[in-house]
Symmetry: C2
Subunit: 236 residues, 2 copies
């Protein structure tokens, strides 16, 4: 690390919150009420499986920018069709189920870790989630952000370079003054390409017990730690 | 009021924080250390006096958007020249003095009032201050914003319509779902023109004891109250 960063941007889904457990828990509750017998963790995985392809069309310029809330809702329609649950959810119920993505638990170290980072500089999400989604998630998970940055600021999705670049310029900083923190090596590689400092921590169960990617750092990131709080200590 | 707003946008300088006392206090401290004998409240008033003309050039398209931090700093140069204090401050000291605008006390009812509003919907500043300035001010004054909106989001200054419009769209809402709250009738008139709901409260000493504008509502705003908390009660 060259100098202490003035701001810390965080990936959120997977890095700060446990989307898989959160979506599964939220879906499970609704499935139980409806008498639906479907593995809710598999449901979460398959919903998340649509995430990258949906964003890719926008990154490739084949579709204009729409917020992630819209992609989650569209992807739910695809998933319900694939799983034979199409007739069990009307439009309002699909909207409600999509709110699962706003009700995700923080990993046990996240909130305290973010508070430690907050003493070192500005903290903000640099997520593919919309500002609206990030606000609701921040309230649910008590994430003490200074403001919300990320995809909505740039009108595009990570790892497109403008998402990192515009998130820095929105707070009046150069990329070299900012650190991106993520549990995903690809996210950090893209941030580094733009000139940000990088911090990695593993989330070995983000994708459940069989996870085989991002179990460790695959780049020489500026800081590597085992939790958000540990990373903060190493940056302080 | 038609329906309860989903989000509340707040003017900040004058409405949420007492810029005049804050800037005067901050300047006074520096003047005392330097042995400068100059009325610090007058200094604050004259600095603020440059505020509208500096933004007007940008609103008129005579100058591209620059953040308010830059305008404050430029206006300080003008003010120091006018007041014969030009030789008393080097560049670093001018930068430090400009930070006065990040260290402004909330009015006594602001923080508790914002907390009440936060139970009703999203809350965010829609100020002419930059995101960076608003973050620092929020930390100083403990303002519990969900995110930062306003001039930086639009790349222009209030009362230009796009500042209100883009602040709403950034959180995925229509103007009719959002209320603008300000102690300035002109701000509310511009917000209403774009379709926002409006809430007014007077700040009778914003400009000191001789204030003669904005002592009361001059429009039939949707809600009128005597404090931020009072407005929240009327909206709840």
């Amino acid at each position: 690390m060259k100098a202490r960063p003035k701001a810390f941007l965080f990936d959120v889904f997977g890095t700060v919150v446990d989307w898989r457990s959160g979506v599964a828990f939220y879906a499970e509750r609704i499935f139980a009420a409806k008498g639906i017998d479907f593995d809710s963790a598999q449901f979460a995985d398959r919903w998340r499986g649509q995430y990258q392809p949906a964003m890719q069309r926008i990154r490739d310029g084949k579709r204009g920018y729409v917020v992630l809330d819209t992609l989650h809702r569209e992807n739910l329609d695809l998933l319900l069709a694939e799983t034979g649950l199409e007739d069990r959810f009307d439009d309002d119920e699909r909207d409600e189920l999509t709110q699962a993505w706003e009700c995700l638990p923080p990993w046990p170290d996240s909130v305290e870790g973010l508070r430690k980072f907050r003493e070192l500089g500005f903290i903000a999400p640099c997520s593919n989630g919309s500002i609206r989604l990030m606000i609701r998630l921040a309230r649910f998970a008590t994430l003490p952000w200074d403001t919300i940055l990320g995809a909505d600021i740039a009108g595009n999705y990570k790892p497109q370079p403008e998402v990192y670049r515009k998130s820095c310029s929105a707070i009046g900083l150069q990329p070299g003054e900012v650190m991106m923190i993520a549990a995903h090596n690809e996210d950090l590689a893209a941030a580094r390409d733009v000139g940000l400092m990088t911090g990695f921590l593993p989330r070995a169960t983000e994708h459940g017990p069989g996870q085989d990617a991002d179990l460790e750092a695959t780049g020489d990131w500026d800081v590597i730690g085992h939790s958000i709080g540990d990373l903060a200590s190493r940056c302080g």
